[in-house]
Amino acid sequence: MNKNLKHLTNGIITENPTLRLVLGTCPTLAVTTAALNGVGMGIAATLVLVCSNAAISLLRNVIPDKVRIPAFITIIAGFVSVVQMLVKAFTPSIDKALGIYLPLIVVNCIILARAEMFASKNPVVPSILDGLGMGIGFTCTLTLMGMIREFFGNGTIFNLAITKGHIAPMIIFLLPPGGFFVFGVLVAASNALAKKNGKPVVENLGCENCPSKAVCDKANGCQQENGGNK
């Protein structure tokens, strides 16, 4: 049981998908203009992650190794369509705010990476817990980033006025540069914390954990980066 618990907590802090593994950067930057959007995106991705991890783990002995990536993508796309319909039906405002980033969960590398690295090698229960933990970690980071950007950019947190009306908001935080900037600062902060606790520091993009690492290495992209990482 203890081991199962570890699978769950692994994704929340030690291997936080956005800050430690640096996967799924596109939605992290794109939808976090408000805390609520971060929560919505996080929950939607968590649902897909848990379901796809469970399904892939169940099918892990059936799917031939050669076509596993297309098979994984098809499974993931199926669950994404389901979640998309659920969001559209029950929370249309979130659906509007997330826009095309909701269907783009299909190509979110966190999900494919967990399918490839964990679910295709482990039994169902740990896979579900791993998906849940990763999803919670993703949701937490997105919410945090949404709160920071919403606070500085609009003076509110979860639509509650904090400094609104007293201090002029810095709209730049809601614009694309603010996303890059806040994410950069958060990664720096998580690196500082990791260093304090004697954990390895994230110096480059999450190539180690990316499902397409082998290809990237050959393309000389990540290889170049890892060369500089002593």
Binding site: G178, N220, G221
Partner: protein
């Protein structure tokens, strides 16, 4: 009328609504493969090629087959079509145009799971573009991607030799540099209506 539409799509895709810097699509290759100008250029040519071909194939599928009643199948159909197209392009180039395959082939598998390609096909549907505007949109997005990649590769080559505070080394400074490049692109806002 048509020419103004096409120019405005081109300008929006390349400058004002740049795919990477304002829509955050294709961040992984933007940060991962932009360490050298040459790799950045080849990668973006491959992305542009796949985006234009995928738009050309998904548009008729969406318009004639999926229409309104099956639009819940969009996501799953589009991703499968893109995956198949990437495979086909790879096979085709390998057999018939080996020099291009040698230059771009390596980037093709990376593109299947690149959110930029799926993103652009979905945006075409969302904006209700016709066939030609869809292709122009894909081309513009590809050129915008190329511009951002090449510019950023230049910035990163400079970063290599810069004296950076310890806690910002690596990814954090790269992201902050991206913020500054993105900030400069905000200056284009308003061009092309």
């Amino acid at each position: 009328m048509k020419i103004t539409l096409i120019t405005s799509i081109l300008l929006a895709g390349i400058l004002t609504n740049n795919m990477v810097l304002s829509k955050f699509l294709g961040i992984c290759p933007f940060l991962g493969v932009s360490t050298k100008v040459k790799t950045a250029l080849s990668m973006s040519i491959a992305v542009t090629l796949v985006m234009v071909i995928s738009s050309a194939v998904t548009w008729p599928i969406n318009y004639y087959i999926l229409k309104q009643e099956y639009n819940y199948l969009q996501t799953i159909v589009f991703i499968l079509v893109i995956a198949a197209i990437v495979q086909l392009i790879e096979i085709f180039l390998k057999k018939y145009i080996p020099p291009i395959y040698k230059a771009l082939g390596i980037y093709l598998p990376l593109i299947t799971t690149n959110c930029a390609v799926l993103g652009i096909t979905l945006l075409n549907v969302q904006n209700e573009y016709g066939f030609v505007p869809s292709l122009v949109n894909a081309l513009a997005a590809g050129l915008g991607f190329m511009l951002a990649m090449v510019l950023f590769a230049g910035v990163r080559e400079r970063l290599e030799t810069a004296d950076i505070p310890v806690f910002l080394k690596g990814l954090p400074i790269t992201l902050i540099a991206a913020a500054l490049v993105s900030l400069s692109f905000l200056g284009f806002a308003g061009i092309g209506g």
